[in-house]
């Protein structure tokens, strides 16, 4: 009787060990945070593709500069409209564009080109609403280098976030 009970206890302990191992392994074998990883990648791919297609068609030259290479007045609004037209409704963006120059010491200085905010989430003060980005589940930052026809090197910093991804 005692011997049978011992056997049963041993078997139960062994089974529990194996079961707990399976339980823990299940969590280990699951890809960590699959939706998170995928959406982040997709956002970056989307952002780069958008900037790349604009660059391929000289979109930056046409949107920002006039035919003599000078920065257009109020180009930010037009730029925002164009970017907005490519954006799915659940993606928010905030774009800053910098003109790269070399200072006297030969270091690169980035001078911000856009005087106005280029974003589809603007607060009541006309600034990009950072709170919305903070609340969004996914945030990605993309840097893109573009050389214009007039040999200006600009750096586009684009922040994207996917609303409702959490």
């Amino acid at each position: 009787m005692t011997r049978g009970i011992s056997r049963i206890i041993e078997a139960v302990v062994s089974s529990l060990l194996i079961l707990s191992a399976f339980s823990i392994s299940y969590y280990l074998t699951l890809p960590p945070n699959i939706p998170h990883q995928r959406s982040s990648e997709d956002l970056k791919k989307f952002g780069y593709n958008l900037l790349s297609s604009l660059a391929a068609n000289q979109g930056f030259d046409q949107l920002i500069f006039d035919s003599s290479g000078k920065v257009k007045q109020g180009w930010e609004q037009q730029f925002k409209v164009v970017i907005n037209s490519f954006m799915p409704h659940n993606i928010i963006f905030n774009i800053s564009i910098y003109n790269a120059t070399l200072n006297q010491l030969g270091f690169v200085e980035l001078v911000r080109l856009n005087k106005a905010v280029i974003s589809n989430v603007v607060d009541e003060f006309g600034k990009a609403n950072e709170a919305v980005f903070l609340k969004a589940g996914e945030n990605v930052q993309i840097s893109y280098v573009y050389t214009t026809r007039w040999m200006k090197v600009i750096v586009i910093e684009m922040k994207l976030a996917l609303l409702g991804s959490v």
Partner: protein
Amino acid sequence: MVRRKRKGQLLIFAGVILTLLIFYIAVTVHNTSTTYQNLRYEEVKEIVDNFNEDFRRSLRYILAAMTQEYNATAEMDTPRYNAFERFTLWMKTAIRTFSARGIQVNFTFNKVLLQPQKLLFGKLNMPARYVYDLTKLYWYSPQSISAISANFSLSVPGSGFYGWKGQMLVLLNMTVYVNSIENDRQLGTKVTITLNKEYGEPIEDLTAKNFKISYFDKSTSKWENAKIVTLLNNGGGNYTIYFKSVNDKIIDEPYNRYIIVWAVDNRGIIVESYTYTAVEYVIQENAINPFYPGVSKPEEVYALEVILNGTILWFNRQLAFSGTYPPIPMPPVKQFRVYSTTNGPTDPNLKEIPSQVEVWTSNYLVPTLKFAEWRRRFSVGDKLVFLLNYSNPGVYQQKVRIEWLWDADTPPPTYLVRMNSTGIYVDIYNQRYTLRLVPNEGFSFAIDWTFSMYYKNYHVEYSMNGIGYIGIPGGYWIPHILPAGNWTVLVGPIRAVAYRDTSRTYRVEYQNGYKEYYDDPGPFKHTEIALIPYKTKYWQLYNDIIWLRDHTDGRYYSYLTMISGTSGDQGSPIRISHWAHQMTDLSVHWGTYSSSHSTHDRDQNFLYWYAQYNYNGFGEAVLPSKGYVDSIKSLIPGNRYEMWIWTSADYARRVIDCLAQRFDTSGTMTIRRGTVISWFAGVWAYEGNGYSEPNMYHRMFVETYFPTIVSVSAAL
């Protein structure tokens, strides 16, 4: 008891082993999964794509901007500097931007072969062409290339991505098929062209707007833009262009074959091609070998000038030739190099000879302040000057090849002539003699000279266009009037020029002492040009006078007077001791100077040289042209011309006056308004010890014996 214990432990032991196995598998799978997730492949790919695309884009724009700047300025240093500046900006911006993403980038400029050595059209030997130092432009030949290249290596250590090495090459290559050029009676001249970009990819999207063709218009004697009648895109980057003259006319043979083609592709990159690569002349000297056959003539060096229409000038006179000249094209002037034979036209060795391009007025008569400006294209008014040597015994013909180099990085020629300003004087040193100019107004007093030529240890002064005389206590002051005005001196690599073009004159009067006046306008307008070639024994002098009003003065009119001797060298052995001049029967009349005031010779039978020399290694001579002699003998009616050789009362100075009006105190002379006097001459320095050198070389300066052109051809 022991047995039971063992059996129970076995089950638990088996369970532990299985558990460990499961954990091991789970951890391995987990690691594999997380490693895959951490590769972040997608972002690296996108960043590298951005890098690649914009690198290509920036190189394309840098090359386009560089070709456009060079095409506009004809100067390479600034476009190359700008190209490096632009590249540096892009490189540093890229490094700054991408390094924030964990990317490491390095850039290098490797030497990249663009095309191997080849024989173009079966005739033109083209060496291998490379791109290095970021960009290279190979223009001005039937096959032209604009190229830019840089190498990079890229690593993303955070993703285990190391050592991706890449090379970016952007180019435009144009070939103009020279043999395809032919005239069509209706459509005009036909030419076939091929355009490729990097990796041999044909350029298919060009229209007539992408091309410009220039041809040499014989009627205007300059390069004109042709009218492109039609352009056929034959596919594969091949285009056929039909073009006519600017007046919509067929361009005659052979000028239809001398064309310049520019192409700019839709990326903005320019190339420039010429259908010929050189012009070759055979030039014959007629001044010495016919009279001294087989004799060495080391000083027979001509500073010849080629102008845009291909003609060659000596003393602004076209060398005689009965055929058609290929025009000289219009690359940046720094591209020109001149080669000549040394042992006659069959000599296989062509050696580079000193040359430079000078900028004169459009009629080629007066130099401009841009005299030796090399940041420009060869154009109307430009003279390509080169020094052609016939020194070897018996050599009377030489082949001359004028080439325009293909490499746009070709530097301008180095300066061989030096100019010094010493005190109030301007001295021009040609490595053999120094020509001193009369000081600017206000720096000298009682002037009686215009030039002074220093050679070895002595010098002779030259008074040019001296007119009239004034009475002074105990004698006369000669001349009364001289041309005045400050000299403009321009120095080029192999020839300097000093010139004046003004109506200012200088007048000396004696009223209780010498008084000097500058009259503007004076009685005549005058243009004087002195050309000082590198390392020759001569300088060239042009004088053009037009009298603005009737002028009556004492009887004395000198063209070019030699005066030597100063207050400090009286009795010195370095002084001139002898005079000589050529007679009209080509014999020589010579004599010695005295140590006191006296006349040694008054002679109307003078001809093409007069000289002062000693037997201590010094001599100088004036070598007048035929125009000089003819003019001086016809200016004043009544045969009043004369060569007057005399020793002055002041310091026993030695003088040879070559006079249109002999010095005569018995009356006056009047020069009429509108009288034009135009002459040129050479002035020669030598080692003295007689007069053999001026006697031998003087024909170089006499029109009848000027060089002639035997043949001219354009070379592929």
